[in-house]
């Protein structure tokens, strides 16, 4: 067992974890933050995406012990009070149906828009589709997800 200290959604967290504990498992089982989902076992689907120090990371392929000292944000901690513009845009554009892939989509979308804004790049539909390569949705056909991310980009 290893002692890990990290900040999760703004709160300091200290826990003992075994070396093989995945961050996704740590968030879901130890912290009971069940908004982070597990949709595959090969790091393809992206339902588990969280932010580690502001960057989108698949928590299913990150060891909890490796995030010692990091600042982790999950879907539950994305907004300060009201909805984050990305969350609001997903609702506004009907960018979700069953909701299972949605937390990962939103976390990936936020990271993408932050990067593009920092680099002064335009958030085109083509760019969104390319950037969502690591997030699979089976319900929406992506049409409204792409629109939601583009719209959120104008509001972030």
């Amino acid at each position: 067992m290893t002692k890990v200290k990290m900040t999760v959604n703004g709160k300091a967290v200290t826990r003992e974890v075994s070396g093989e504990t995945l961050l996704s498992e740590f968030l879901r089982e130890d912290l009971r933050l069940t908004g982070t989902h597990i949709g595959c076992d090969t790091s393809q689907c992206g339902a588990c995406v969280v932010h580690i120090d502001g960057k989108a990371v698949k928590s299913c392929t990150t060891l909890a012990a490796a995030t010692d000292g990091a600042e982790v944000t999950t879907i539950e901690g994305l907004a300060n009070g009201d909805l984050h513009p990305m969350q609001a845009a997903f609702k506004e554009h009907h960018g979700l149906q069953c909701g299972f892939c949605t937390p990962g989509m939103i976390m990936s979308g936020v990271d993408m828009v932050n990067r593009y804004k920092a680099e002064g790049r335009e958030v085109t539909a083509e760019a969104v589709r390319h950037e969502l390569e690591g997030n699979i949705c089976r319900c929406t056909g992506y049409h409204n997800i792409v629109k939601a991310v583009q719209d959120a980009a104008t509001k972030m």
């Binding site: 949709g39 393809q44 909805l83 909701g99 937390p103 939103i106 056909g141």
Partner: protein, 789 residues
């Protein structure tokens, strides 16, 4: 009583979204019970083998392992075999050959993934490690994975009671008439058509949490189900897990279904039984690899078809011979998919007088095959629409023109394959799609693409499908083991707010919004005053669940029927209190008024009056709560026209869908935003099947496409924006005039895609999925044949 902002036809944003976008959805794997243990299944690595022995000792010796249970214990406790709930007889009258399927195999395993034992342990990780330590001795047997090969003499027999692996040999229509029609034809188009095997892949893997309460002898099951009441019924009546009043099934938020979550699988049965055996809550959550080898697959048909035409392009006869792969066991509704959900739609949008279809369903050593989004109708649509497009090309006609010459234009229209189409305007859908797709401008776009070295093609699909399978007596006559009605309860609370309890189940369809819309419209109330309750057998009286695009046409109709009763009572109470005639009562703006007067009661005052019961009409029961069961009089028939435009790179075979246009007739639309979303998702699955998705087994029955590294799920960059339109006719069969929209996209799109690609490459001989390799090979065949000429 129009309620423009939130009523029927309004693009209302979803009420359920907030919990999903903030990570507060509650899915089955999010449930954690006290004293919870975890299940891991010991699964066969062989496609076909005798089970010689199971040695549990090493696993049982591990600290933290609660128990290791096998099939002998399961059957010894009286747990029944898994059944197929739709009896389809062969054409000679003999019943279908249903092989025994135990939740845990005892003598023989029949596909890779077939479970033989389960480990219950304190943690999930430990359960999985211990499952590896269970030693099963197998005697391997030869396996067969392809449906046509399973019918050959040399194929191994999978079930003792299914000689030659044949489940049934079924037919519909009139063979003699179809033959005569073909004999009289001026032109015959003949094709071999494969409908590729796919995996449904809802993003939430299946999961179950079972809890046995020893004191009450009561079970609670949280499960990823599209139909919790059906699950309870089957678990109780057929699998003998517990009587219905001792079993509560809860399907909380469910992360997509697409058919795969209709069925009651071995894992749910085993978890329930194991919770009793171990006196622990037992949780099992599938990982994706396990989903690929346990979730029912879809499609997998091999067909040959002949369609004859007269000199005017009118269809003179149509004959189809299909072999359907049902996998190693008959899943819950598997028998109905290639028969009553497939061959009954083979008349398409066309007036075909002479039609015959023969279907042989067979066992193979593969995962069971059952309904997947569309279930039978996509297979029918793909067959007819590829035939029509190919026939038009062979006869030198425009594909749209050939279709239009054969359209059904008078309703009701009885087909030779037992369907009665009730409504539709196929010309309107075709015209709308052609205009939206700018078909007139296609030659210019094609020429422009050619300059860039790309082959541009255009393909049509004019689909019709059948939703809301019904009426119950009719489907019972066809062999269904259940009725296909729906139930609803409308509870008006004393403060006037309303709860709708529905037997439909939402797993992405947005029922919490659309169902509330029809109530808000009917009683002219704010949408927020209406709540939808679903997915819990302890709360909702009964329900048949959500599949087959039935929640609108059947589920909402039940709500309407219950609302009729509520409204009648409201009128009586208001008429009594306001001293007016019931006929003069209007419900409007949150009030119940007497027309033409200033006499009115607030809606909430009616609610309160019903529950205080201080001043009700004589003999009236207190309360304001009504329930209804609605059994439709017919199927509904959504239809439409899809047009796909592609560009193929001839150097690589890579194909891009550059434009996809849909014109659908769904009847009345409650919320266009949600309906468009359903079409988008259906199109994505259909395009996925057409271009990317394929379950592949090797000859020994090992699944090659067992993860997202191998099975190609469509990603955002693989798909276009869709151009979605509606040209609707009202369905005469239900009170709201709805037809259903959940599956159309997946049904109509595959032939449009393949017709577009075959148009681009000039070769009609192309099978799904149209991967770059398959397209490139088809292109080389064209080049080779041109070189030979």
């Amino acid at each position: 009583m129009a309620n423009g902002a939130t009523g029927i036809g309004a693009r209302v944003k979803r009420k359920e979204d907030k919990r999903f976008i903030t990570g507060k959805g509650k899915y089955t794997d999010d449930v954690r019970m006290e004293n919870q243990a975890y299940a891991a299944f010991v699964r066969s690595p062989h496609a076909h083998a005798n089970v010689k022995s199971i040695d549990k000792s090493a696993a049982l010796a591990m600290e933290g392992v609660v128990d290791v249970l096998d099939g002998h214990q399961l059957t010894g406790d009286g747990i029944g075999n898994i059944i197929c709930g739709w009896a389809v007889a062969s054409k000679d009258g003999s019943p279908m050959n249903m092989g025994a399927w135990s939740a845990l195999a005892t003598q023989k395993v029949r596909y890779v993934g077939d479970a033989v034992a389960v480990v219950i342990a304190d943690t999930q990780a430990l359960a999985r490690i211990a499952a590896e330590a269970v030693e099963v001795e197998y005697e391997e047997l030869p396996a067969v994975v392809k449906a046509d090969k399973a019918l050959t003499k040399s194929a191994p027999e999978i079930h003792d009671n299914a000689p030659g692996n044949l489940i049934y040999n079924w037919e519909i229509g009139d063979a003699a008439k179809a033959d005569a029609g073909l004999a009289a034809a001026k032109h015959i188009t003949e094709m071999e058509i494969t409908n590729n095997r796919v995996s449904p892949n809802p993003m939430e893997p299946r999961s179950a949490v079972a809890t046995y309460d020893e004191a009450e002898e009561h079970y609670t099951l949280y499960t990823t189900s599209q139909n919790p009441h059906v699950a309870r019924l089957v678990l109780s009546a057929f699998y003998n897990v517990a009587p219905e009043h001792k079993l509560r099934v809860i399907a909380p938020d469910v992360g997509g279904g697409f058919g795969a979550k209709i069925y009651i699988y071995p894992e749910e049965i085993t978890c329930l039984w194991a919770s009793m055996k171990t006196n622990r809550s037992v949780k099992w959550t599938s990982d994706r690899s396990e989903a690929f080898i346990t979730d029912a697959h879809g499609r997998d048909h091999i067909s040959t078809a002949k369609m004859g035409f007269d000199e005017n392009g009118k269809i003179t006869g149509f004959k189809v011979d299909t072999i359907a792969n049902l996998g190693a066991y008959m899943s819950l509704f598997s028998s109905s998919v290639p028969t009553y959900l497939y061959a009954t739609l083979l008349s398409g949008q066309y007036d075909i007088q002479n039609l015959h279809a023969n279907v042989r369903a067979v066992y193979t050593n593969t995962v069971p095959v059952d309904a997947y989004r569309g279930a039978g109708r996509p297979e029918a649509c793909y067959l007819i629409e590829r035939m029509m497009e190919t026939a038009a090309r062979e006869m030198g006609m425009k594909p749209a023109e050939l279709r239009a010459r054969n359209f059904v234009r008078e309703f009701p229209h009885e087909t030779p394959v037992i369907m009665t189409y009730d409504s539709g305007d196929f010309d309107a859908n075709l015209a709308q799609a052609e205009e939206a797709a700018d078909v007139a401008g296609f030659p210019a776009r094609q020429a422009e693409a050619a300059k860039r070295g790309k082959l541009r093609g255009l393909g049509y699909s004019c689909y019709i499908e059948a939703c809301g399978i019904a009426p119950s007596a009719a489907v019972g006559g066809l062999g269904a083991g259940v009725g296909l009605w729906e139930s609803a309860e409308v509870r008006v609370n004393p403060v006037g707010t309303i709860e709708i309890l529905t037997g439909s189940h939402s797993h992405g369809q947005g029922h919490e919004t659309t169902f509330a819309q029809i109530v808000a419209e009917r009683f002219d109330l704010p949408l927020d005053n209406v709540a939808i309750v679903h997915g819990d057998t302890d709360k909702v009286q009964f329900g048949m669940g959500t599949y087959g695009s039935r929640s609108g046409a059947v589920g909402m109709s039940a709500i309407v029927k219950a609302m009729d009763k509520v409204e009648a009572k409201v009128r009586k109470i208001a008429a009594h209190q306001l001293e007016a005639s019931e006929d003069d009562i209007v419900i409007e703006g949150g009030e119940v008024k007497v027309a033409g007067t200033d006499k009115a009661l607030g809606w909430h005052e009616i609610g309160l009056a019903a529950y205080t019961a201080h001043n009700l009409p004589p003999e009236m029961e207190p309360g304001l709560k009504e329930s209804a069961f609605y059994d439709p009089s017919n199927f509904t028939f959504p239809a439409g026209c899809y047009i796909c435009e592609v560009e193929v790179d001839p150097d690589t075979g890579t194909t891009e869908v550059v434009q996809f246009t849909a014109s659908d007739d769904f009847g009345t639309i409650i919320n266009p935003m949600i309906v468009e979303g359903q079409v988008h998702g259906g199109l994505a699955q259909g395009i996925g099947q057409a271009m990317m998705e394929q379950v592949i087994y090797d000859d020994d029955g090992q699944l090659i496409t067992g993860s997202y590294m191998d099975y190609t799920m469509p990603r955002a960059a693989d798909l276009p924006f869709y151009s979605v339109h509606h040209a609707s006719t009202v369905c005469p069969g239900n009170p709201l005039g709805m037809k259903g929209c959940g599956e159309a996209g997946a049904i109509g799109s595959p032939p449009a895609v393949i017709n577009a690609i075959t148009d681009a490459i000039g070769n009609n001989n192309l099978s799904m999925p149209a991967t770059p390799q398959n397209v490139w090979n088809a292109l080389q065949a064209v080049t080779a044949s041109q070189a030979a000429e």
